[in-house]
Amino acid sequence: MKFPVLQGWMVGSGQRPLRKQLAITLSAIFALSILVAVVLLNQLFGLQARDLIDQRSSFFMDAMLAVREYTSKDVNPIVAPLNEGPGGFRPESVPSYSAQTVFAYLKAKPDYREYSYREAALNPTNLRDKADSFETGVIERFRSDPSLTTLAGEKSTPLGSMHFVARPIKITKESCLVCHSTPDRAPASQLLTYGDSSGFGWKLNEIVGAQIVTVPQKAVFEAKDRSLFTTALLFVIAFVAVGLITNGVLNQLILRPMREISRKAEEASVTPATVSFDERNRSDEIGLLARSFERMKQSLAISMQMLKDRQGRS
C-alpha cells in the first residue's frame, strides 16, 4: 500500500529545501523509533520493576525469618523464664513480635516507607495479627497445598491496588507450642495479657499464618515510569545529537558545495571565462557535478566564442 502524500511529506518531493526535508524525515523516523521503543520498554520495565520489588520483598522476608530465628534461639531462652514470674508479659520473647518490631524500624526509613509487612495468622495470640479475609485466603491456599512456598499477585484495598508477596509460616519448633498449644501450658503473664481464647490449638508442622509483604501498585508503576522516562530521555538526547550532527554534516558535505556550485553556474552563464569550478578535484559526487559543470562551462565558452567569430566574419 502506498501513501504518496505521506511519502512526499516525509521523504520529500522537492517542494522544500533539502535540509528541511531531511529534518522532517529524521524527526519522523526518530519519533516513531522512540514511540516503538517506549511501548516495548514499558512492558519490559514493568516486569523488571515487579521483579525488583519481589526480590526486595523476598529479602525482607528472609531478613525477618533471620530475626525470628535469632529471637527463637537466642532471645527466647533468656526472656521466656521472666514471663513465668510475677511481672507483666514480655513480648520480646516472641519471634513474631521481634520480626514485626524490626520491620517497623525499617519502615521508618524513607526508602522502605512504601513497604508493609504482616505476619497474619488465622488464630493469633495478638488480635493485631488476625488475618483479614484476603490474608485468610492466602493462608488457606498454603494450607491446602503445602508444596507452595511463595504467592505473589495483586490485592484490592480501600487505599487502592497493592502488589503482594507471601510465604507460609509453619510451626517447626516444639518450643512454639508452649505458648500456643493449650492455655494451661502458657505462662500466666501471657494469659493475663492476651486472654485464654486466642492463639491456642496450634500443632507441630501446621501452617498457621503467612508472612506478607505488600507494596502499592502505584509504587511499582512509579518505579517503572522513572526507569522508562530516564531511558526515553536518553533516547531523545541521543537522537537529537544524531539529528544535529547529521544536519551539520549534510550542510558541510553537500549543501554548502552545492550552493557554491549553483552560484558559480549562474555566474558562468554570463561570463564563463571568469568562473572556475574548483570542486572538480573532489572525488565524490560533488566533484562529479563540478566536473560536469566545468565541461558545460567550457562548452558554453566555446559556443560563445564560435558565435562571436561568426558574428565577426559576417
Binding site: K130, L159, Y194, S197
Partner: protein
C-alpha cells in the same frame, strides 16, 4: 524564521514534545489527605468503652467488627491501619506510655491515663465512647465473710483487673490506701474474679456497679461514691497538630457502621473535666510501687484527696 533555522530545531522540538509527554505519563493527580503516624501507618489501639467484660481480645471485638473497623479507619485516614484490639488494660497502658498508638478507643481509666502523659507525647480527647451508666467502683466479699469494713480487709487476698483499669485497678487501690494485703491477683474479667471469690481463692475483689447483680452469695463492702464518666476516642499530639478534621468528619458520618458496643457519639466533644478529676486518682496510684501477681502488697504512697468527692461527670 529561516527555513534553515526551523529545520535545525525540528528534531529538537519533536524530542522536547515527546519528553514532556513522557513526564506527563509519570504523574498522577493526588488530592487525598492522609493521616498517618510517624511510622507511616496509623496504629490504632482498641480497648473499648468498657473494662473487664471479657477475658480475651475476641470478646472485645469480633472478627467482623475488626474487619469493618479497619476498613473504615483506612478510608477515613487514607493510611495503612494497624488495628490492635487488646483485652488487657495493662497492655494498653504500655502502648500509651510508649506512644505506640496514634489513635485509641479507650475506657475512662485509660483515657485519663492518656491525658496524663507528658504534653508532647500525650493524647487529646476527640469523641466520647460508651453509654452513661451507673458505673462505680466497688469491692465485693463473700456474703459469709466476717469482713465488714475497709479496715477489715487488712491481710486479705485482693483480686484486681490489670493496671490501666479505673474501676478494676486504680480506684480499688486508691480506696484501700494504708492497708497491707496478703497478696494481689489479677484477672482479665470481673467474671473470673467473681469465680475466684466464690471458690475461696480470693477474699475481696474489684467490681463495677454497672455489671449485672452478682447474686446473693457476695456483698459489697466498699462502694466508691464517684460515678465513672464515659470512655473516649483519643488522638496522639502529632496527629492533633496535623489536619485530622477530614478523618474525624468521616468517622462522624460513618458512626452507624462502627461497632454498636463502642458507643461512639458523633459530633460531640468528650467532657474533659470528669476525666481530669480521674487523673488525680490515676496519678496518685501510678506514683506508688505497684503490686505484683501473687505477692504481698502494702497500699502506700502519696494520696491527694479529690475535690468535690462525688459525681464524676
Amino acid at each position: 524564521m529561516s527555513a534553515a533555522g526551523f529545520s535545525a530545531r525540528g528534531p529538537l522540538l519533536a524530542a522536547l514534545a515527546m519528553a514532556l509527554g513522557l513526564m506527563g505519563c509519570g504523574q498522577q493527580p493526588s488530592a487525598r489527605v492522609s493521616l498517618c503516624g510517624p511510622a507511616g501507618q496509623l496504629r490504632v489501639g482498641f480497648v473499648g468503652a468498657e473494662e473487664g467484660r471479657g477475658s480475651s481480645g475476641a470478646a472485645v471485638l469480633t472478627d467482623q467488627d475488626i474487619s469493618r473497623l479497619r476498613d473504615l479507619l483506612t478510608v477515613a485516614s487514607q493510611c495503612e491501619v494497624m488495628l490492635e484490639p487488646v483485652a488487657s488494660p495493662e497492655q494498653a497502658h504500655q502502648r500509651l506510655g510508649a506512644s505506640e498508638w496514634d489513635v485509641a478507643f479507650l475506657p475512662p481509666g485509660l483515657a485519663a491515663l492518656a491525658l496524663e502523659s507528658s504534653a508532647n507525647r500525650g493524647y487529646s480527647l476527640l469523641r466520647p465512647l460508651g453509654q452513661r451508666s451507673q458505673s462505680r467502683s466497688q469491692l465485693l466479699v463473700r456474703a459469709g465473710s466476717d469482713r465488714r469494713a475497709v479496715a477489715d480487709l487488712k491481710g486479705a487476698r485482693l483480686g484486681l483487673l490489670p493496671r490501666g483499669s479505673l474501676t478494676g485497678f486504680y480506684l480499688p487501690l486508691y480506696n484501700l490506701h494504708g492497708l497491707s494485703l496478703q497478696s494481689v491477683h489479677y484477672a482479665l474479667s470481673y467474671q473470673e474474679l467473681l469465680d475466684q471469690l466464690r471458690k475461696g481463692q480470693l477474699d475481696v475483689i474489684a467490681w463495677d456497679a454497672a455489671l449485672p447483680d452478682p447474686g446473693g452469695d457476695v456483698r459489697v463492702i466498699v462502694n466508691d461514691p464517684n460515678l465513672i464518666p464515659v470512655g473516649a476516642l483519643v488522638l496522639s499530639q502529632p496527629l492533633v497538630a496535623a489536619d485530622h478534621q477530614p478523618f474525624l468528619k468521616l468517622l462522624d458520618e460513618s458512626a452507624a457502621q462502627l461497632p454498636p458496643s463502642l458507643g461512639y457519639v458523633a459530633g460531640v466533644l468528650p467532657e474533659a473535666q470528669p476525666l481530669q478529676r480521674l487523673r488525680t486518682v490515676v496519678t496518685n496510684v501510678e506514683s506508688w510501687t505497684l503490686p505484683l501477681e501473687g505477692r504481698p502488697y502494702a497500699v502506700y504512697g502519696r494520696k491527694q484527696q479529690l475535690k468535690d468527692e462525688g459525681v464524676m461527670r
